[in-house]
């Protein structure tokens, strides 16, 4: 409704005098916020926050890779112990874990322990590893699965060549 068509009573209600001076300011001029010091202080603070986040991220990544290396070492010790005690089931279980861990590091996949053997092999293929490496990994993982879950009768003497084969494979997956 145009203001001029408002009822006279409503118009009279407008234009009322304020009896309180309110808040005084010295100027009406508009200050461009981009030129204010507080804005740039905020920017510097946020930029420093970004630098801190980058630093923390790098540190976290470093510590994560160190943790994985430690895990690998522990698994190698356990494999050797299983080999020493001729614990076939334990040996193959730990060997499977070790291969998955190495594939996880090489292919930058955090949860290779949750993948099935064919999925791990697919991961290797997608990371452009040679067919020889992929085939070897598939063969070893199948063997580990069979001996760990199928409860096959184990030839305890076969553990040593499997161990050597696995070590050569782990060296290739880098």
């Amino acid at each position: 409704v145009p203001q001029s068509k408002l009822p006279q009573k409503q118009v009279q209600d407008l234009f009322q005098t304020d009896s309180d001076p309110g808040v005084w300011v010295t100027s009406l001029s508009l200050v461009d916020p981009i030129q204010s010091a507080s804005f740039w202080i905020l920017q510097v603070f946020l930029f420093l926050t970004v630098l801190v986040v980058i630093y923390l991220r790098i540190r976290k990544r470093k510590s994560a890779s160190e943790l994985l290396k430690k895990k690998e070492k522990v698994l190698l010790i356990k494999i050797r112990e299983a080999l020493k005690h001729k614990d076939s089931i334990g040996f193959h279980r730990i060997l499977s874990k070790s291969i998955r861990l190495r594939v996880g590091i090489a292919c930058k996949h955090a949860k290779t322990h949750a993948l099935s053997s064919p999925e791990v092999v697919e991961l290797l293929k997608s990371a452009s590893f040679s067919k020889e490496v992929v085939d070897e990994a598939l063969e070893l993982l199948r063997l580990c699965d069979e001996l760990e879950y199928a409860g096959s009768v184990t030839q305890k003497n076969d553990l040593e060549p499997t161990f050597r084969k696995s070590q050569s494979l782990l060296k290739k997956i880098k």
Partner: protein, 271 residues
């Protein structure tokens, strides 16, 4: 010497406080005097008292002045002071309604009013820039923290796209505010002194060249917004005529109407 310097310090301290208190009190005192003058029906005296307040602004001060000019039938000045009041208190609905009525009285149509400028809030402008920068940096921080290569997670891409869209929208809003702010810096209200004509709806000529003898390109009602045309050096394009009058090149809101206007024929919104 020690006692003397202590006394000098105390004297300086009390004097500076005295000056500050007197300055604050004088502004308030003048304001109350003007309100009292208006209450007794002496509108002209009230206007004079308000205009004695120098280098200090408040929304009620400008709103009261605008009310007085409206009651004195000086509608362009009423528009000018409502605009100043709204700069300090952009959300005040009473000021907005009064401004609308003053613009009606000046004969300015609804189409000629720029709502972006009329509803501009300096606080919103400031916060739009701060929000934009926080959104930008927060996105960067989250991106650094959560990005894992190779990116396979589709929801991650969705969040990145959402962030970018939000950033563009926010920048668009900020840019609009910045443009409005820039226009406001150049905005003036066309004005014809009441004592010369005593007619409420005077028109201001936008002349072809800077001189009284020039014909007009067009004319606009007093109380309309005009915008100072800037030269290459980002300064208003001005010209001083041989008789010493200063002229400025102005454009209307839509930019179609332009012409030279005398210095006394306008009042800047932000001075």
């Amino acid at each position: 010497v020690k006692n003397f310097s202590i006394l000098l310090l105390i004297f300086a301290f009390t004097q500076s406080w005295g000056v500050l208190i007197c300055y604050g009190a004088s502004k308030d005192q003048l304001f109350y005097d003007a309100v009292r003058a208006e209450a007794t029906g002496d509108l002209q005296q009230a206007v004079e008292t308000y205009t004695e307040i120098k280098e200090a602004h408040s929304a009620p001060l400008h709103a009261n002045l605008a009310n007085l000019f409206y009651k004195l039938n000086d509608y362009p000045l009423s528009v000018l002071h409502f605009r100043k009041a709204l700069l300090l208190d952009p959300e005040n609905r009473e000021y907005k309604a009064n401004l609308s009525l003053s613009l009606d009285k000046c004969g300015i149509s609804q189409d000629s009013r720029n709502q972006n400028i009329l509803s501009f809030s300096p606080t919103l402008y400031k916060y739009s820039l701060i929000s934009l920068s926080i959104l930008f940096w927060a996105g960067i921080i989250l991106l650094i923290w959560f990005t894992r290569f190779p990116i396979k997670n589709k929801s991650f891409l969705f969040w990145v796209a959402s962030w970018l869209i939000l950033l563009i929208l926010m920048y668009g809003f900020y840019n609009q505010q910045r443009n409005t702010s820039s226009m406001l810096q150049r905005e003036v209200i066309a004005y014809q002194p009441l004592k010369d004509t005593n007619k409420p709806n005077d028109r201001i000529s936008l002349r072809v060249f800077a001189g009284n003898a020039s014909s007009a390109n067009t004319s606009i009602p007093a109380g309309s917004s005009l915008f100072l045309d800037l030269g290459k050096n980002k300064q208003p394009r001005a010209h001083t005529s041989p008789d010493g009058e200063k002229w400025f090149l102005m454009r209307s809101l839509c930019g179609l109407n332009k012409g030279w206007v005398k210095e006394e024929e306008f009042r800047p919104v932000i001075d």
